[in-house]
Subunit: 369 residues, 2 copies
DNA sequence: GGTGTGAATGTATGCGCTTACATCACGAGC
DNA sequence: GCTCGTGATGTAAGCGCATACATTCACACC
């Protein structure tokens, strides 16, 4: 009646439970005829091995974990945008594109290596229990920066491998985790330099993310560095901080134009979502992009090449983050004592129309059709 | 040295393992002072309860599963688009937006109910083992239609609750699963009727998905039904079948115009991704949307309101699919013997510019700023 | 002072599997 | 004919926890 176990299968097939287990773990140590008998019994009984029991006995779960922030709370404009119909819904979705990509990359890599993926968003609220919850179920866990404090992660990392994604090792003495980082600084530096040097723009405004976003802060430092390099005044803070969402990008435009004595020649957004949200608002205000004002983003999400003008941005390998997470996790499963490593993933500039590099858009016609 | 267990914590705190367990399961049955002692010991030892052991002992994992297709293989144009730089990457991402939304909805709902989420993509290859793998680790599993055969699911459903997402109950005698469906037929019927009745268009072309996509097929039947209703010739098959991706949507345009004697007045795509890919290609060929040719999609992914012209489409509640999955799963966990249920989620038409309902785009200016 | 009562804690068992070790059958080699 | 190796299978001991049940203790009550 209830869920069948190895014992039921063993009885039904006339073998011992060890043989049943071997059929699933080491099929080639079992005589072919016996194996078939066991599998037949399993099929007729509807037997499915218990992952829990297996995990307990073999002290490995075959599952990796990923904690990411579900940071709706950052978007202070959510309420206001309800009048736009499904806008709020979309906004929510937009914000998550980044996590989605990391999840997908990690799921694929995990599956290729024979692992499952347990995902858990952590809302800013009860962080400790959530991550401990997944920690108890997996062989290793990746954590997107900003989700859980490094101190907590250190505790958890005593039990299993932990890798921090998109976050720097702030204090080498306290932080013995593996890290995967993205060259945010370099990317924003190059992009800012591009605007200054190649397009001759000097009045640039940076729209940042919330202060607790390591990505956003690193990008701003790249923005500053380009100013230093070019001998321009170095802004101490992002001109505006916004919620990294489409709607907050749109709202940032109003705030920008209202508070600035002089219109900037370019607005550099900390991510693509905001830039994408800003474009229609600029259009509505009669500002032509890039003629009147250039716009750039960061990430290269798929929307960015579909909007008009197509968005100039810095492409970061979001799925690769997930892949590297799996790689580092399994390397550490194999050797718990290896020295902590940091991997830095490179980014690349994608010049499209919104900075002035292409005339209208970047649609490439199909060959010969 | 190695991972601490209840025994270690019990020793360290001077209590029995039962008390340690109670501190985590039923904190209020333990004296406050004792509880603190145990928690202190746990903290200094770096104790994290083993999900496996807990699951084994309590016969429940606290985790739900979701299987979804990772169907890159459908996109026959992937190779050709490499010359477009990151196009292939984007295409891949595009295709997954739907799954991503379902995952997100399910993750949120699961978390709210105190469950974790184990996700596993199933490539068309070794389906059985993958889904059995997750089945062994979870308290219930949701499966996106097209991922696993109903027969296999029936076997698995003898062990744990299974719900099928976005797929109809084809044979009530063989299929005792719970289902969550979306009103694809109704949505496409309404949209097609809209083009015929409100816009006076009669020459419509439908670009479908692969034949094994239940969503795509149901939408095509809605398309047919609208023709029947209007007394128009009823097409027996979608004019073209494509891969549901942005690039396959673009390619569909060429194929459409090349094979059709007369240009259709409207192209209705089985999903938004394809429609979004088609827009720049139409533009490139000098066809104005919607003046020369109307375009519609299905899903209402977030890009659809950002492209120009903004896409008229049918909105389906993708996240809701995930939420309902959790709901049905937990209801069946509570009562294994309840009758199989099917939930039908409603869709809604979103009229934007690409069908001719709005002049240029649907950007709503901000109030008073 | 004996007894009943309830709260706090301990004891002991089993969840379903993996795996080291034991056993067994069967030939090969001497 | 006996030993020994080898492949196939069985035996039994946990893995780390939850929980039924037993025990202890303090206290109230008659």
């Amino acid at each position: 009646m209830s869920t069948p176990t190895v014992y039921d299968v063993a009885n039904h097939a006339g073998v011992s439970i060890a043989t049943v287990s071997r059929v699933y773990r080491n099929p080639d140590t079992v005589r072919a005829e016996t194996r078939d008998r066991v599998l037949a019994a399993a099929r007729t009984l509807g037997y499915v091995p218990s992952g829990n029991a297996r995990g307990l006995a073999s002290r490995a779960t075959g599952v990796l974990g990923l904690c990411f922030p579900d940071n709706l709370q950052y978007d202070e404009h959510r309420e206001e945008t309800q009048e736009l119909g499904h806008e709020a819904h979309h906004d929510e979705a937009d914000l998550m594109i980044y996590s989605d990509e990391v999840i997908r990359g990690m799921e694929r890599a995990a599956r290729e290596r024979g692992y499952g993926l347990l995902i858990a968003a952590t809302v800013a609220g009860d962080p400790a229990s959530t991550v401990a919850d997944v920690a108890g179920r997996v062989d290793g866990v990746a954590v997107l920066a900003g989700t859980v404090s490094t101190a907590e992660l250190e505790v958890i990392s005593r039990r299993l491998p932990v890798v921090m994604l998109a976050g720097p090792r702030e204090n080498p003495a306290l932080d013995h985790l593996d890290h995967v980082e993205v060259a945010n600084f370099d990317g924003q530096l190059a992009m800012t330099r591009h605007l200054i040097v190649d397009h001759g723009l000097t009045k640039l405004a940076f729209v940042g993310g919330p202060p607790n976003s390591p990505d956003g802060e690193a990008r701003f430092r790249g923005f500053q560095a380009a100013h230093l390099e070019a001998g321009l005044d170095i802004p101490a803070e992002p001109r505006i901080r916004a919620g990294l969402t489409t709607s907050s990008g749109r709202h940032a435009i109003g705030e920008l134009l209202a508070t600035l004595p002089e219109r900037p020649q370019a607005v550099m957004f900390a991510n693509d979502q905001m830039a994408v949200g800003a474009l229609p608002e600029l259009e509505h205000r009669g500002l032509r992009v890039p003629a009147d004002i250039a716009v750039t983003g960061f990430d290269d999400i798929s929307v960015s090449r579909l909007v008009r003008p197509a968005l100039t941005t810095v492409r970061q390998p979001m799925q690769e983050l997930g892949r590297h997470a799996v790689d580092l996790l399994l390397a550490r499963v194999a050797d718990r004592d290896r020295a902590p490593v940091s991997r830095l993933l490179q980014v690349s500039m994608v010049r499209r129309a919104s900075c002035g590099c292409r005339v209208s858009h970047d649609h490439q016609p199909l060959n010969g059709s």
